[in-house]
């Protein structure tokens, strides 16, 4: 990931900030990176599901969202982080590892809202022009100040953090 070879990536900084807001709920969380990891999970068995990478790779995220919803027990929550302004994610000369979509808070709210109900979803964005450009360039989080990283500009969505609750 951009910046990982220079100390922690800027995206990881924002993922940590997103999860820190839910620190008290993370015990026993099921962490996934792919829909296939949920296929064998029993319905209504999980109190919390976390996905901090991989959401952008799905050609169609709706089956994944259905699986997440199905796996959660009533009252359970999903914490999903997705980008956003980012490089393409390729790991080689072909499409391996590449993203399918770059999301916005709007599309994340609508996609999750379609499955969980609009009132059950909140989305928080992270980033600004400096952190977004730095992230593209592979500059690490440690090369910007905390104030520079944490300034939020809603026009520059590097990361979107979604909390979705299964109500029933």
């Amino acid at each position: 990931m951009a910046g990982s070879d220079r100390g922690g990536s800027i995206r990881d900084h924002y993922v940590a900030a997103f999860l820190a807001g839910h620190r008290s709920q993370l015990d026993g969380a099921l962490a996934i990176e792919d829909a296939r990891e949920l296929e064998q999970v029993a319905p209504e068995s999980q109190r919390i599901i976390i996905m901090t990478r991989g959401f952008e790779h799905a050609d169609n995220p709706r089956p994944l969202l259905h699986l997440i919803h199905r796996s959660l027990c009533p009252g359970g929550i999903a914490l999903v982080a997705a980008g956003g302004i980012a490089p393409n994610g390729r790991t080689g000369s072909d499409e391996t590892g590449s993203w399918a979509w770059h999301y916005t808070a709007l599309s994340m709210r609508r996609l999750f809202g379609d499955i969980f109900g609009p009132g059950a979803v909140t989305a928080t964005t992270y980033g600004n022009v400096l952190s977004a450009a730095a992230y593209l360039q592979g500059i690490s989080a440690g090369e910007l100040t905390a104030a520079e990283l944490d300034h939020r500009d809603p026009d520059y969505e590097l990361l979107i953090g979604v909390r979705a609750e299964r109500r029933t």
Partner: protein
């Protein structure tokens, strides 16, 4: 390339600069240099790619042409090859020369097999039900007709646009996805998709630099890891 003499008088800087040695210059700010995509600095970087693509496809801009929201590109690239200019506006009254009011996702009132060319630039990212819009584009093209499509990949949003037009921006695309979506609908025709941009162009675009502030060589270099602007030329199958 031979180094100029004076460069021997000081050590070369290593590349990439080590951690702590990056020189950010004018870019170490929390606000972009332009709040208007670069309109106030000689024009946005992405327009360089959009116009280059349409220029390369200008022969497709002919006959009866539909464009979204305006007819600027139809006129510029089609000229006398165009026999009729149509503009699709989302709400009545948006454009004085608009000929059709509607939404690409619900356009049953637009007859099938109507247009020789449909130009949809920087629009699909605003449509939640993208697949329905692409289905409409395919349906309303004549057999052999061509859709010329551009979409953003890496991009910022814009608060002034949101205040004016509302909050509609749903997606940034990738070449892989745009190709998949168009091939699903244009199965019997052809689809050519290309990604444009590189890390420098993407950075410049995010800051709202003007296209003239980079060289053509800097703009033209393509790095598939940095897809700033993605274009598609999709031809509907059947007799031309």
């Amino acid at each position: 390339m031979r180094r100029p003499f004076h460069s021997f008088l000081r050590p070369r800087r290593p590349w990439p600069p080590p951690v702590g040695a990056v020189r950010f210059g004018s870019l170490r700010r929390r606000a972009p240099l332009s709040q208007q995509w670069g309109d106030d600095r000689g024009g946005p970087v992405d327009r360089y790619y959009i116009e280059g693509f349409l220029a390369a496809c200008r022969k497709d801009v002919r006959g009866r042409v539909l464009e979204i929201a305006e007819d600027v590109y139809s006129r510029w690239f089609g000229g006398s090859r165009v026999t009729r200019f149509d503009i699709l506006e989302y709400q009545k009254g948006e454009h004085p020369r608009a000929t059709i009011v509607g939404d690409l996702t619900a356009a049953d009132h637009i007859p099938s097999n109507t247009f020789d060319c449909v130009i949809v630039t920087q629009t699909l990212q605003l449509i939640y039900d993208v697949e329905a819009a692409i289905g409409t584009i395919h349906r309303i093209l004549k057999p052999g007709g061509v859709a010329l499509i551009t979409v953003p990949g890496i991009s910022q949003l814009n608060r002034h646009d949101r205040e004016t037009w509302g909050d509609y921006w749903c997606w940034g695309f990738t070449a892989r996805t745009l190709e998949r979506l168009f091939r699903e609908h244009f199965q019997s025709g052809d689809v050519e998709v290309e990604a444009h941009g590189n890390v420098l162009a993407a950075t410049a675009f995010l800051y709202g630099l003007g296209r003239g502030e980079l060289t053509r060589r800097e703009l033209d270099f393509r790095d598939p890891e940095y897809q700033l602007l993605i274009t598609a030329r999709a031809r509907k199958g059947g007799a031309a």
